[in-house]
């Protein structure tokens, strides 16, 4: 849905752009944890599971940029070389595809540590990015690996992600496989339009959001 777009990273005090792509839902969620901190599902879990989910989330965040950035081609080592810029890039990408809303960005800016710094730095960049010309289509004919091109579509989905795909597919009357192949920005948009109001309303009645997303009536 989105044309290739720039994501800003700060390196040695200078601002640079990475060119990112609105990748498939499968590619985006590859390696995603089943629950996120501050969600009901996370709070229900045992401490050991919570710690595993946090580890998985951190691993997922640092593996995201090589999957979504098309220029330059990034490896895991190159992402580490970005230092805090890597966090900044992740925040920028998540905001661009609609995963992070303005209120989420404000909350992230208030956090201590690397995430807070990254969100604050990204917020400073936002105004400058808005005026950037979008790049012309970037050719990506470099060799692809099984890991990056096939695995996201055939690996086991986190249960909560599977529930969300199933629920959206049911309401939109489309095959789940089509959703899985659609761009992440489209998936997030569909999620907000088809599930967002109900999840919010349920939350105000005390029904956990994950239960609503599973389509289970309270």
């Amino acid at each position: 849905m989105l044309a290739d777009f720039p994501v800003a990273v700060t390196l040695e005090g200078e601002r640079y752009a990475l060119i990112a792509r609105d990748v498939s839902t499968a590619t985006f969620f590859h390696g995603f944890p089943n629950s996120l901190p501050m969600t009901d599902c996370f709070r229900w879990g045992q401490r050991e599971q919570q710690e595993r989910d946090v580890d998985v989330l951190e691993t997922w965040m640092f593996s995201l940029l090589p999957r979504v950035v098309i220029e330059p081609a990034l490896t895991g080592e190159l992402v580490h070389r970005l230092g805090d810029g890597a966090f900044e890039g992740v925040v920028g990408y998540l905001h661009a595809v609609g995963w992070i809303l303005p209120e989420d960005l404000e909350r992230a800016m208030a956090m201590e540590g690397a995430m807070g710094r990254a969100a604050t730095q990204y917020a400073r960049t936002l105004g400058a990015l808005a005026d950037e010309l979008l790049p012309v289509s970037v050719a990506t004919d470099r060799p692809r690996s099984f890991r990056s091109s096939i695995e996201p579509f055939v690996s086991v989905m986190a249960p909560n992600i599977r529930l969300a795909v199933r629920e959206i597919a049911k309401r939109a009357r489309v095959r789940p496989s089509l959703l899985w192949q659609s761009s992440i920005s489209e998936f997030i948009y569909d999620w907000r339009v088809l599930l967002g109001d109900e999840i919010e309303a349920a939350a105000s009645r005390g029904v956990p959001s994950e239960v609503m997303a599973a389509g289970v009536d309270e």
């Binding site: 200078e14 710690e51 081609a73 805090d84």
Partner: protein, 152 residues
């Protein structure tokens, strides 16, 4: 805004560090070229963090977290403290090895640097943007993964 290219990323994420002990022995400057390491890259090598208290709110500052973790380490039986210290040292050697570019070092090569290994790690941590207290350099205390005061 300039699109980042690979050559710029490599150039801006590398530095050269002088090895004081090796230089003294050799009678001339001995240097090593290293790359920046990500804080998560280093943290992933560290032993498991102490468990968070059941009533944790998630609002803990890094300084509070460090103080809690140090207190937990001090409460461990001596044998576990020794084991943990050993794991921290191995993590230090491993991250220095990963960061080394020229010459390329194995973990065993880093160990042979002796005191230079600790100073090299400290300089690498500073260059990479996370501060490491002297207490964290091998005596079992946790590293402080916060930026130096003058970080941008």
């Amino acid at each position: 805004m300039q699109v980042l290219d690979r050559a710029t990323l490599l150039a801006k994420s590398e530095t050269t560090i002088r090895l004081a002990g090796q230089s003294t022995e050799a009678g001339h400057d001995v240097e090593i070229r290293v790359r920046r390491v990500g804080p998560y890259e280093y943290q992933s090598l560290l032993p498991a963090r102490p468990p968070r208290p059941a009533n944790a709110t998630g609002d803990e500052t890094p300084a509070e977290m460090t103080a809690r973790e140090l207190a937990w380490v001090e409460s461990l039986p001596p044998s576990e403290r020794v084991s943990r210290r050993s794991e921290m040292l191995e993590a230090m050697y491993e991250i220095v090895a990963r960061a080394s570019i020229e010459p390329r070092l194995s973990r065993e090569d880093v160990k042979r640097l002796g005191d230079d290994a600790v100073l090299l790690f400290s300089a690498l941590a500073t260059f990479s943007g996370f501060g490491v207290t002297p207490a964290a350099q091998g005596n079992g205390h946790e590293a402080v993964t916060e930026p130096p005061a003058n970080a941008g």
